[in-house]
Amino acid sequence: MSVRKGMEVSIAVAEAVKLAKVDVIAAYPITPQTHIVEHLSELVADGELEAAFIPVESEHSALSAVVGAAAVGARSYTATASQGLALMHEIMFIASSLRLPMVMTVVNRALSAPINIWNDLSDIMAERDTGWIQLFAVNGQEAVDLTLQAFKIAEDPRVLLPVVVNLDGFILSHVIESVELPDQEAVDRFLPVFQPTLRLDPDRPVSMGAFGSPDVFMEVKKQVEEALIGSQEVVAEVWRDFEKAFGRSYQAVERYKTQGAETLLVTMGSISETAMTAVDGMREKGQKVGLIHIRLWRPFPFREFFQAIEGAKVLAVVDRALSPGGPGGPVGLEIKSALFDRRERPYVADFVTGLGGRDLTEEIFEEIATKAEQYARSGEAMRYEMIGVREE
């Protein structure tokens, strides 16, 4: 029987990777991901995890080595953040198009410049179009659960795509909190040994990564796109299996007090929990506010999203990254485009805030919800607002 313990979330994630009995880890250290890879090194060094740990010389090589390992049928894992993820950018596209399953933890951290080691979502938002399945954890338990789920999703023969699990740097990764680690037998039943479909095998030689001329390129890309879109059903299926095995349920778009809410905060990552507390406060003062947080970012869960916002008049989107010179934050942008051809649409107010680790308190969320309602009432179109920036 697994029991709840106080544990740093980074350590918990490393323990989840151990429970998944990963075969190969390749990683390069970068704040705030280091505690994960350090603990994994200890587990391997102490013989608690039978895996090859490749201390590569760069993140570009980290993902490259993981692709190589996955290509021979090994369950493979890496973790990174910010600049490291940016350095992997070239290989992200290749990993998904090669249809090789692997799992990566991204401990979200601001992209330089200025160099900043604190939390926002600018790193992962820059990887939106790489063809990876992208999940977001809101607390330590979710970080553990999503890591185990990620392997099962990635390795499903209907999917065979790499999966990234996002958790906020420092404000989640470095926090000691209550986490329940499932026991090994239950995990082994939920996540059996990886049976590769595509494998470099001298007895059945295949060529991976061939040169695709204009005649064939689009057909290969179409296949990847259909696999990514189709993966949404598998994700839901894996979540059902997980709930049966471990009793914790997961949704592509999670709801909090959305019943009877006219305004919904739209968040991602661990700041959602602070926002939920803010919603509690606003509800007590009679404000009809609720919250949804997007757990499955890619493939974008359109159906679940529309169901979750039913009845809402105003969406107050909290973006943790900016799309400079564009129509606003990436999440606000996607939500407006998703709603574009709906007959009735809630008013969408997009607020870019909390960049570079600026703390997001309950007050900020109250201000965001209230301002969103004011914008909606004024009927004034609002592209986006960077809230929390000192004007004077």
Binding site: V24, S58, I91, I94, S207, A210
Partner: protein, 329 residues
Amino acid sequence: MITNEPKDFKRFTPKTLPQEEIIVSGHRACQGCGEVLALRLVGKAIGTPMIVVSATGCMEIISSPYPQTAWAVPWLHVAFENAAAVASGVEAGLKTLMAKGRIPRRKIAVVAFAGDGGTADIGLQSLSGAMERGHDFVYVCLDNEAYMNTGIQRSSSTPYGAMTTTSPAGKVIGGQTTWKKNLAAIMAAHNIPYVATASPAYHLDLMNKAKKAAMIKGPAYLHVYSPCPTGWRHGTDLAIEVSRLVVETNIFPLYEVIDGKYVVRKNTKPKPVEEYLKIQRRFSHLTPEMIQTIQKRVDEEYEKLLKLEVATQGLEGREGPKEEAAKKD
């Protein structure tokens, strides 16, 4: 002469060359390509079971025009600068899966192929990492001395004076202004068990070195001279001729570095460098002074090599160079 070759290493002789090929006819290399020939001979020498990782470059493009592949062995290409990193993952994956009994335990040669650009420039960092970490694989740099796949642009491995499209023979600057980067020395500095240079004209020497590289436990580096008629502007029939002349002129000496000890194939009566330079139009603009500069530097580098052999083998008063040269390959 130290010859601590791996235990059961048997040298190839003309009669015992394997028939098996790792790459098949139908690949799209140019007429008379020396690089695909070098690749073929290395692969034939190492033999199967083998898994190949390629960097982006001529050999990757000419061998994998989807939906066709010229590879007869399992092959993976990911990107330009990460062949060594990908090979590290392949090697580590195989090792772990075998340890866990998930795949049969057997010796599978993991071989990474890249060009000079993919090795000396964009891929040097991941190569250094893989070598330092001690992965059990063979990295083969097929050196055609420029970025040929993208149309003959200069690399750090382009020889001094050579004309390429980005080191043109201009009125003011006459071709490549830098001396060829010495990759074998950089690899030897990683203290890996085996480093060797090879040339297709000396195919037995090449194949024996490739076989040795694969048998030795740990990382091995092969630097293989690979003529490119298109890029060097010489006849399509001259790949072997230039591969011979480059060794006979001591421009590209053949040697091994076994556990840090240099073993040099002696050539005490080298031909003048001009004999090699004059049959390639990439050198047609060289002035007598430039040729003299090359000759002088080539002689110095060769002397340095001999000194390295003595120094690293620590042997005093061994056979003089004359006796050495007598032993023909």
